[in-house]
Symmetry: C4
Subunit: 347 residues, 4 copies
């Protein structure tokens, strides 16, 4: 159900990782219905390729919010890469940069953002942020990210509380759950659990506030409805990311492949619409692009790649999806991301 | 396919109960198609959550026909709790009250309603009634229920005859089938089988009659069509309960999740519409609420809870669903039962 | 997937019959897609029962083309009952009469029609006919049937050639394939194979011809389209029987449950529309009635019943379906075949 | 899931062939979703047969682009028949001619086209062509085909690059991959890999060019969209062949059974529309004809037939499908390919 490279990396990761880590990464909330229907969602579409069109050169490159990308396939923010690899997000950043892709760094990284930024050696990166109960801490963090070169903020809006997972992950070692980015903002480095929790009381106005304090475009992550997308854009969002958190928050939330069209319809003409959840192949990506997405994000595949082979694994993973995308674009008669055939995707 | 607490309780109940009792509780009529499609019905819907809405406080409480509820999740009437636990409905009533929920007590309880009413220590309860061939007996029973504090009658309308079940339940001990509520209405305590059978010849006019003799609102249970709901309300019903008797009456009757919208459309603006059948999670409940239900009822889960751990088990079960509902409401951007997002539910 | 009585009878028949006979009866043509989708067809519908309607008395009786029936559940014509039971159609006729039902006797019966007619002891019966290459033979046979009391002809229109079956039935003994009804029409009793083959060159005009020579109403069997039904009625048909020959002729022909509505729409106001194929329960029958059928026919179930227990088996089978129909009619709020609730059936 | 003859031949082929050859033939690209949904596509339709129509004579013969056919069931172009049988395409051509069918000979045949043409002993044949990077080589090849009697060109348009297959075919011997048709066009017989690759840069104008240099009608193969079909016809195509290369090019391309109607709608009135992909039975073919196809092509079945029994196997295969088509046409009330009933096919 995935590209050969990615399938192999997942198998390697499953062997390499403790069961609790594997389950922490792989699992979803509730009955894992959304987790599974994310994958099925992309497979539910069919492509209508064109023939006899010049595809001697296929160009997968694109630009999103000023960031140049080798392909519209980027790295979703995910917590605690240190569980997957000793180098944590340093390896992810370097491997992502090697592939000409973009890292959305999670607030909950295992490595402080400064080190991650440095590891990307000049590549653009975005910073994923939660608005925490401690607003000052949030502001400090965001300013730090901007100061160290983050090109956009990804505001995760679907996690007022952490979704209850189906699988137990009891063995996860507490030490490894250390939130490296927050330590320096608090006296003595001891983070107050409650202060760093996401604030479930926030509203749309935080979008404007984050933009103001950071000077960066804010992409709202977790949007699944056209009306919500519209509200976010009205509140100052520079982009929206259609996501259900990889099936880790509200179970039975619509699969992103089904939510994407209504969001594109609502705001696609004004801001970039990104999407993640279950993207595993070039065809998945092509379907998303055909439905109007500006780029797709990969969550778990990058974690498996990291666990399987560190920095090189991440590059392999991203390169594989990019190459597959180029291949299937050619087979579909599409020469560039900007010139996809009309009516490429159907149900 | 259910919450972890409920799944565990069902497993415990299956171990604890004789096979015949388990099958009596678990089974359905005909080919059990409706039994299974009740579960699938809720899962067939998808949720469209909103992001960045203040859900610091989520309020699951509500009121139905004057009864305050900690959550719109209440106990469906089911027969013979004595088969599940020595304390029978006394344990159910107490456990339900502990959870701030509501018990709909079955006419066919193992314990006389007076004792059950007492066990609830002041909590509201409703009384489920069949109109029996012996109309006087019916009237006497209903008056007793009202006198002992029942706040509403639930008139079961889908059981002119008892549906033929798929599973044999031959081992069910006859003694345990004693109908405690009826004994006192008949000379010498010996109940005439035929007199206590439901009268298959009744019509909609019994709604008004029951209301009159009891002074209580009458909720008609078993409604699956908009036109029927309308007829019931015209005949004096104070509410309707969309139900197919948990797949125990007409097999291949529409799953309740599919019947609910047309009933809400027909009468939802005038009377509360409740629903049962296959509700097992907070998401199931949220889907029902999103489709316009005022509350959901749990049938078998409460029986498993009772068999697994008596009074405490019932409380755990109801608390688990309520907590799960609160959790998923927050994830859906819903702060209270009265303020669910528009268009929360889709197919 | 069927009533308990019928399931048991099929199991007994499978044990009792040689494999080749079982497969001859059970099998279908091509890939058996139509065979299976006939069963699934009925299950694809859902019922919308009514509540609180007087169903103290439920009347399943009806009349079709002048034939009174205890229930609209009758016996489909099927060949060679001698393979199932030594008494062949004599047992079927007697068992059918005992149940107040109707036998459609196949031309290809193991017992001459005179004996079968006598065995029914006065009960109405219909005669299924093919128009053979030898038209005189056909005429003689039809006149015999009329003379011996057949009340209608069932003209099988879907078998210009015999459908190629999936299962081999190599062991079928040739002796048992003797066509008892034809022997007397030919010199020396030796039937010329080709003469008794169905004539693939016939057209709609044979309907009028059969009516003329027999004086009986002609029901065309095998109709699956509204336009065809209309053509048949214009050509003099007194009724149409929606059938795909139990999935034994054109594989991937529409399941009868799906074809029925368009045929009812086309001619249901003028002539009775009957249906067969995969009917196994009272609910299947109720769905068919709700869609506008005047009666359903049982094919294989009667063969299993016959093999399992002869005459008594046939009665048990028909009684079981009739009783189940009565039961589910009551649960659906339907007091008689003529007064089914509006909108009883939905998809 | 196929005719008995074809199923047996595939089983024999699987036994006879090395695994790598079997997988090379049987496999598809990507996740093999299109491969499988090609088969499912035809099965998703249902037939609406007519009754009592004169089908004493059923005529399967037809004519496509001037080629008379015993039935509208012809041989799809496929590479390297030498892997299946020592005689390669010589056996295929002879067996096809024996059945009164048509061979579309692949450019990538194991035997030079002159020998194949001779083997057909006068039967019409068509030549499948790719436009290669070396345009002169292409022209030479096409002229040779025309000179040796090809009656049409089949221009494969869906293969700008070869689709990446799911199954590994590592054992395939390189010698057997010799492209016999190309050798004579190059100095010393050594083919330059790159020169003989398909040119991914071609556009619709090659249609006119091929027509010009060959003087033959050009059928574009790989068309899956109405608009594309229209563009091809405007560019001079004499026919279109709805195909996704048997699920070997763009995975998740629409199944051909679903693409066919829109192509027929767009150009069916002007040029013949052919279709291939997953056709395995007479019913599959009848569905295609009912949807407006002029003929169907068989890909893998002919390869299995060839591997199983050479020339005779190919004839058996084609005869089996033709006979099955005749049979099901009769059962559907269709007396000839030109006179199919209206509305024969439904979903
Ligand atoms: C283990 C794990 C941790 C995650 N952590 C975060 C996070 O810290 N912040 C965030 O916005 N999303 C987080 N996500 C969600 C991802 O950004 C993304 O939405 C999701 O993984 C995409 O689905 P996919 O894994 O099917 O590709 C996490 C996902 C996983 C699997
Ligand atoms: C064992 C059992 C006994 C029941 N007894 C009654 C009853 O006495 N009266 C009644 O109205 N409904 C009765 N019901 C139906 C329930 O009220 C309710 O409609 C159904 O159980 C809801 O479906 P669920 O079990 O899937 O939650 C019974 C259900 C079960 C499972
Ligand atoms: C073994 C067998 C023999 C049949 N013979 C005849 C026949 O002689 N004439 C006829 O019109 N239909 C015949 N039929 C078709 C039945 O009349 C009927 O259409 C079909 O069996 C109904 O489907 P069911 O078996 O699923 O109930 C036969 C069916 C079977 C299974
Ligand atoms: C092994 C194999 C080789 C093929 N080679 C060619 C080819 O050389 N040229 C071409 O146009 N199509 C080629 N095809 C595609 C077929 O022409 C045809 O489109 C496809 O096989 C039809 O699907 P089916 O195999 O399900 O019948 C090939 C197919 C197979 C299976």
């Amino acid at each position: 159900m995935t590209l050969r490279v990615l399938a192999r990396q997942e198998a390697q990761a499953e062997l390499a990782l403790p069961r609790s880590t594997y389950d922490y990464y792989a699992g979803g909330s509730g009955e894992e219905i959304t987790l599974e229907s994310n994958l099925a969602g992309w497979r539910g579409y069919r492509l209508r390729p064109r023939v006899l069109r010049d595809v001697a050169e296929v160009d997968t490159s694109t630009e999103v919010l000023g960031t140049r990308l080798a392909a519209p396939v980027v790295v979703a923010p995910s917590a605690l890469h240190g569980l997957a690899h000793p180098d944590g997000e340093v390896a992810t950043a370097a491997g992502t940069a090697d592939s000409g892709s973009l890292l959305c760094l999670s607030t909950r990284s295992s490595v402080p953002l400064e080190e991650v930024a440095a590891a990307g050696s000049g590549a653009d990166w975005w910073f994923q942020v939660y608005v925490m109960r401690d607003r000052e801490l949030t502001e400090g963090l965001v300013r730090r990210a901007a100061a160290h070169g983050a090109k956009a903020l990804v505001l995760t809006g679907d996690t007022p509380y952490v979704g209850l997972k189906k699988r137990t992950t009891e063995g996860l070692s507490v030490g490894s759950l250390h939130l490296a980015n927050l330590a320096q903002h608090v006296a003595g480095g001891v983070v107050d659990q409650r202060a760093t929790e996401q604030d479930p009381g926030i509203g749309l106005d935080v979008i404007g506030w984050l933009h103001e304090v950071s000077g960066l475009p804010v992409v709202v992550k977790g949007v699944l409805r056209g009306d919500d997308a519209r509200d976010c854009v009205s509140a100052g969002a520079g982009g929206v990311l259609v996501s259900n958190h990889g099936g880790r928050q509200l179970d039975r939330a619509v699969p992103t492949a089904l939510a994407l069209p209504e969001v594109v319809e609502a705001v696609g003409a004004e801001v970039p619409v990104l999407v993640d959840g279950g993207v595993r192949t070039g065809v998945d990506a092509l379907v998303a692009l055909g439905l109007g997405a500006s780029a797709v994000l990969l969550g778990r595949p990058v974690l498996w790649a990291l666990a399987a082979a560190g920095r090189a694994g991440v590059t392999q993973c991203l390169d594989a999806v990019r190459a597959d995308l180029a291949h299937v674009m050619a087979l579909a008669g599409a020469r560039s991301v900007a010139e996809l055939p009309e009516g490429l995707v159907t149900r």
